[in-house]
Structures are given as C-alpha cells and as structure tokens.
Symmetry: C2
Subunit: 224 residues, 2 copies
C-alpha cells in the first residue's frame, strides 16, 4: 500500500513548502533534506520535480515574483516604475530570505525576466532610449526587486556596551553620527522611508537626464 492519502508530489507543492520553511526558519534552513522532511518524503523524491538545489531556490524566487502586483499601465513612466518597485518591496517584506536568495543567483528565469521587462517597458513607453533604460536599470540595481543592496545593514551593531560605543564613535565619528541619528528617528520605519527616498532620488536623476535630452557616448553622467 502506498503511503496513506498523501497528495502526489508536485513542483508547486514543493515550492510552497520551501517558501513556507524559508519564511519560518530562514534560507539556510532550506536544504533538500529539510524540504523533503517537511513533505513527509525521502530527499531523493524531490529530484523528479527539481533538477538540483539551484533549481529549487530559483523556483522559490519565481513563486514570490509571480505574485508581485502588476501596476496600472498608465500615467507617467516614473510613477509606473515607482509603483512596480514598491509593490515588489511590499511582497519582499514578507519574505526576508529573498535578498540573499536573489543575490546568490546569477541567471534569471523567464518569470524574473518578466518583471525586469515590465519595468524596462514602462521606461521605454515614457520615451527613454534603450541606452538610458539600460543605465537606469543599473542605477536601480537590486532595488528593482524590492530589496535594498545595503551591505552590512547593522553597521552600528558592532557596539554592544557604552564604553565600546564611545570607542567606535571616536574612531568612526561619521558612521557613529549616522547610527545615532537613525536610532533617534526610530529604526524600523526609517528603513522604509530610506528605501523610498533613494528610489525617488534615482528616478529623479534619471528623469532629469531624460528631460535634458541626454545621449550616451559622453562617457559619464556629468563632466568631473
């Protein structure tokens, strides 16, 4: 007799399980063995539906990206891009493992290309040249995915007690001043404001280039 009443293993079910596990226990808890255990199945069973672990993580990203809201394709291009990115970010906050997952991968799946295409197309619709769209995508970087590309998020976290905090402050006064200011303004929602601020800064810089009839080949955004 086959194992009682267990629904057949399908790729979709594997991905849902893996995403739920990552939400609960982090990306490093997602192993072939752990996902299999989650599904009441032996590790090898997964390999009928998933090529290898890379494919598993790619599928997890696809699952989340496929659920991004698709914003209204009207209005100015910058507003459309802003809505798409903030929509992605809202989804991302529920899946913190997406940042390391995306950053560890090097090839985009078709679903992931679809999200890039939607943002690029909004810019082209706004009249931006392919060239400028290209540069704009680079400027956005991983922010396109609703994730911040900030290395060492908790820069102030290196100072546990007051004595060493003072030592850090004297050696790294600028870094310490930034950390103190952030702590005073209330860290949690400050991160959201920061994300939106930088997004707008970039959209604004790009819009300005476009408005002033920027063309590639001058080598840089500005003579320096």
């Amino acid at each position: 007799m086959t194992s009682t009443g267990r629904p057949p293993l399908r790729r979709e079910r594997i991905m849902e399980s893996a995403v739920a596990l990552a939400d609960r226990a982090g990306l490093e808890a997602v192993s072939m063995r752990a996902v299999a255990a989650e599904l009441g199945v032996v590790p090898m069973a997964l390999y009928k539906h998933v090529a290898d672990k890379d494919d598993l993580v790619g599928g997890m990203i696809d699952t989340v990206v496929a659920a991004y809201p698709t914003p209204n394709p009207s209005g100015p291009w910058a507003a459309r891009v802003r809505a798409a990115v903030l929509g992605a970010r809202a989804a991302m906050l529920r899946h913190p493992w997406m940042r390391p997952a995306i950053e560890s991968r090097h090839a985009p799946t078709p679903i992931v290309l679809g999200h890039m295409e939607a943002i690029g197309a909004a810019m082209r619709d706004g009249g931006l040249s392919t060239d400028l769209v290209h540069h704009a995508m680079h400027a956005m970087g991983s922010r396109i995915w609703g994730i911040s590309p900030e290395s060492f998020a908790g820069a102030g976290a290196a100072a546990p007690d007051e004595a060493t905090a003072a030592a850090v402050a004297s050696r790294f006064p600028t870094v310490a001043a930034i950390a103190a200011e952030t702590a005073a303004t209330g860290g949690e929602c400050a991160a959201e404001a920061e994300f939106a601020f930088v997004l707008d800064l970039l959209l604004d810089a790009i819009e300005r280039l476009h408005a002033t009839g920027w063309r590639s080949g001058r080598g840089a955004a500005t003579a320096r």
Copy 2:
C-alpha cells in the same frame, strides 16, 4: 620532531592562503578543510587563529580592504569619494569573490568600518549634513566597496541559440534590446563604463541636493 621547517601558523598566513585560493578557485572552494590542506595542516589547526568560518571570510575581506589605496584628502568631496570608490573597484577586479563574500555578511569589521568612515568623512568635509551623508551612503549601496549590486549580471545568458534568442526577444523586447546593444558595444569594458556612469549619476544627484540646500523631513527627494 615537529613537521620539518614549516613556518608557524599565523592568522595573516591563513588569510593570504585563503585569498589566493579564492582568487584561483572561487569563494565556494574556500572551506576550512581546503585552506588547511593548502597550508599542509589538519583542519583543526586553523581554529587556534580563526573563530569559525565566518571569521575566516571576514578576515579575507579585511585583507583586501586594508590594501585599498587611500586617496589624497584634498579637493572637492565628490572627487574624493569618486577616487576612493574607483580605487576600491580596481582592487576588487582582482578578487571577484569579494562581491558574494561582502553580500553574505551582515556585520562590518573595524577595517571595513574604516573604509565607510573615510567616504562618509569626505562628504562631511564637503559640508553635507549627517542626514544627507546617510542617504548618500544608502544610494551608493555596495558600490562603496567597488562592487556593483547587479542581480542577474548575465541577463541575456538565458538565450543559447538563435531560435530561443528570438523567442526571448519577442517576450522581453526591452531586455533583449539592452542585451543586443551591450553586446554590440563590447561587453567587457562596457561594465567598467557602466560602473563609472552610475557612480557619477549618484554623486551628481547628491551634489544637486546638497547645492539646493536640501533638508530631511520632506519625506522624499522629490514630490511625486
């Protein structure tokens, strides 16, 4: 008799070995066991000089960052920041594993804080407020380290033959146009130009905010 003529194990020697191994075989080849073998030593011997693998990777990053050139502390702030970042980037190109290494870490070491401080201090010297310096650091993101925060670097790499390339082009025309344009302009050095372009775009946007007497609290860089 102790093992013939082998110099005593020191942290510095371990880091040099690990960096050389990563340069040669990539970050994923750097295991405690592989580094130990490189040094002709049993894995456990490393633990006298290194707390754990995280400490090993942190030490590798420190080794490279400590060798960043320190640019002349004169001239306008944007030029100083530009020189520091491009100096970091030059070092980075010799150590491609630095991107995944930095992105996988969450706490900065003092040496790494020192590099952030140098860039932040250059901005403060230029008269930027702590607040604006903070936002500027976020805008730069990991570019501060001389690495580009580009997810899925080879976006066009998903199309091996011409038939599927055409399929990709029809589904993702904007992405395909960008890929085609990049290929035409010669990919390798284009990446360098791209890095400098975006860096200048960001420095320019920040300089503009500073020049127009920007103050925090308006919520965003621009009304939208």
